[in-house]
């Protein structure tokens, strides 16, 4: 029997399997940030052990940093101390840090790929659930907790039970105005926020193969939002072309060797998955969420479910609670509803391609006066590219505020928050209660849908503008 892509990489990294227990899985690359690493550094210090392979860990500051005036000391004392502790820990333990002010700084899941640190066939972990992003390169990449960060520090390995495998095949051409974010929101709405729990997902099919690396990252990024341990896509020429020439990509002879290995990374034709789902790309419309988990999404021209018709009591109660929090009505359409904020950023949608799409749509237009629009590039390098291409001028002309790289208003941790009770169309990944700030109401959508609402001030079907 053939092997899945997941099995090939997993088997290559198992050091040992414990009887009736998990496997010791070797980790090639470990990303850390300021929020989920300090307790792990403290842990190994208390145990009196050194970092086993410090060169395989790369650090950045992203979650708890301001996105304005990054050259000034961080105002919030606790935030400043947390970021300083990362600087101290990295210096003390020999970890490379791309901190504030460094040209490589940015959201951990944006910088790994753009620097060529993320490569096919690797095992990659980070104390952040959106580590699944790196799976777009044909890697096993998943989020871990702080105890596991400590495990990687101490042994360059984690203990993991092998997950089941699921393949999601997406075939056909996308409708005009439909982008990667819509694909993943559609899948999550279809299988629910827990529909892939216990599985590692491979995305396959002609639609996936037609997508850019940025688009593939958006899809893999949100795998965790349906409960999956991670998501991955077999590497191909699109992937290799993206990596080639990047700062840490293999060079010369090493590049040729790498390509020879990477081209072996695919699921064999006779590989069997524990679950398989088929999606018709043409059926996907621009998506938006109305509830408080990413599975509660609808087509932009669709209607919120009528709660009385939901058979499952738990699900019905969920949606009633979500609609109450969101201030929305059962059975209603969202089209035309005024919003107050637009957030374009996060590890899901803050890459150059996302910002180019937004710029192309808003060029020569002005934002609606009732909305505030934040554009937060995913990294210093993305920000630099935005300026190089003159997109900054288009955004400034439109009245959008461009900020500096970081997780920003995705998670309600740093200074960037959405006020209580106000609506935000956000290109981020989570619409949980309070996610963007206490009482904030998040509607997840694609960068195109977010940009459309920035212009009109209301929830808008992007197809009416193009």
């Amino acid at each position: 029997m053939g092997k899945t892509l997941f099995d090939k990489i997993w088997d290559n990294h198992v050091v040992e399997t414990i009887d009736n227990g998990p496997s010791v899985l070797y980790i090639d690359r470990h990303f850390i940030h300021e929020v989920t690493s300090p307790q792990a550094f403290k842990g190994i210090e208390e145990r009196g052990v050194e970092l086993f392979r410090p060169k395989q860990t790369i650090a950045t500051a992203d979650h708890n940093v301001p996105t304005l005036n990054q050259h000034l000391p961080i105002k919030d004392e606790l935030s400043r101390m947390q970021v300083e502790q990362l600087i101290n820990n990295c210096a003390k333990h020999g970890v490379e840090l791309y901190g504030l002010g460094h040209p490589y700084q940015g959201i951990v899941h944006v910088i790994g790929p753009e620097l060529g640190i993320t490569q096919p066939g690797m095992t990659i972990v980070c104390g952040d659930s959106h580590t699944s992003t790196h799976g777009a390169f044909g890697a096993i990449a998943f989020g871990i907790g702080t105890s596991e960060v400590e495990m990687v520090f101490a042994s360059q390995s984690v203990l993991q039970t092998k997950p089941k495998t699921m393949r999601i095949n997406i075939e056909g051409a996308l409708q005009k105005g439909v982008v990667a974010k819509d694909i993943i929101l559609y899948i999550i709405a279809k299988i629910s926020a827990s529909g892939a729990t216990g599985y590692f997902v491979e995305y396959a099919g002609s639609t996936i193969r037609s997508l850019s690396m940025e688009a593939r990252m958006t899809i893999c990024n949100m795998s965790i939002e349906m409960g999956a341990r991670g998501g991955m896509i077999a590497p191909d020429d699109t992937c290799f072309d993206y990596i080639k020439g990047r700062a840490f990509a293999p060079k010369g002879e090493a590049w040729n060797d790498a390509i020879n290995q990477w081209t072996q990374l695919y699921s064999d034709a006779d590989a069997i998955f524990d679950a398989e789902i088929n999606i018709d790309a043409n059926a996907i419309e621009p998506m938006i969420t109305y509830g408080t988990n990413p599975g509660l999404g609808i087509a932009i021209n669709g209607f919120i479910p009528v709660v009385e018709t939901i058979v499952d009591e738990g699900e019905r109660n969920n949606i009633i609670k979500a609609l109450k929090y969101m201030g929305l009505e059962s059975g209603a359409s969202l089209l035309g509803m005024p919003v107050q904020h637009i957030f374009i950023g996060s590890c899901t949608n803050s890459r150059i391609e996302d910002l180019r799409e937004v710029a192309a749509l808003v060029k020569g237009k002005k934002k609606n006066s009732a909305v505030q629009v934040m554009i937060v590039p995913g990294s210093q390098q993305v920000a630099k590219q935005v300026n190089a291409e003159g997109l900054d001028l288009i955004f400034a002309e439109a009245g959008f505020q461009i900020r500096q790289a970081g997780c920003s208003a995705c998670l309600g941790m740093n200074e960037d928050k959405i006020p209580n009770g106000e609506y935000c169309i956000s290109t981020s990944n989570r619409n949980f209660e309070g996610r963007q700030g206490a009482g904030a109401r998040t509607l997840l959508a694609s960068p195109l849908t977010a940009a459309a609402a920035a212009i009109t001030g209301v929830v808008t079907d992007i197809r009416s503008l193009i």
Binding site: N64, S155, N318
Partner: protein, 193 residues
């Protein structure tokens, strides 16, 4: 990690599904660089009005004095979302040593086990049976036997836990000690690959 063998306690019911780790501990409380003190902000925005500790929400179970104990019982897909281990630390710091649900998110389950907080997965029907008990009912969780019993009715369910993790819990061992003991083997693996 301290050993965990048996828990016999009243329980706190939270019969909602998809309780994500942002609810368990909102991101604005993740600025600490230690593992301590997260319990006071557990379920912060469900516990208090306007983020005000002097203004508790009376209809939330943690604010109702009849509900107490070391066991939290919650609807399915508990712990979904962010990988923050602070969620497990907050539950433990508040006093919970076990969470019972019909379905746990993967990362939360690992984080909980790595801190000696036991995730107990039961059927939807058994979960419902627990929710139907009154607040004085005791639950008994036996790690060795892998059972959870509703003491008032005697109704008992089995739960799964892999042998390795069970041994860790019963003895208070942690994965980091285990991996440190395997460093030579890991170094050999590096040479071969």
């Amino acid at each position: 990690m301290k050993a965990l063998k048996e828990i016999k306690s009243q329980f706190v019911p939270l019969p909602m599904e998809n309780i994500d780790t942002d609810q368990i501990i909102p991101a604005r409380f993740l600025k600490s660089t230690t593992r301590d003190g997260f319990g006071k902000n557990l379920f912060r925005d469900w516990r208090y009005n306007n983020n005000d500790e002097t203004n508790p929400k009376p209809d939330f179970a943690l604010n109702q004095s009849q509900y107490k104990g070391e066991i939290l019982v919650a609807g399915k897909n508990f712990g979904c979302g962010s990988s923050r281990e602070h969620a497990a630390w907050a539950l433990q710091d508040y006093g919970f040593n076990a969470v019972v649900s019909s379905f746990f998110a993967d990362i939360f389950k690992n984080n909980a086990l790595n801190n000696g907080v036991l995730p107990v997965t039961v059927s939807d029907a058994f979960l419902q049976e627990i929710f139907e008990q009154n607040n004085t009912c005791l639950l008994t969780i036996n790690v060795e036997a892998q059972t959870i019993k509703i003491n008032t009715t005697g109704s008992t369910a089995h739960f799964d836990i892999n042998l390795y993790k069970k041994t860790c819990l019963l003895n208070g061992f942690d994965d980091i000690d285990f991996l440190i003991s395997r460093k030579e083997l890991i170094a050999e693996f590096e040479k071969k690959n």
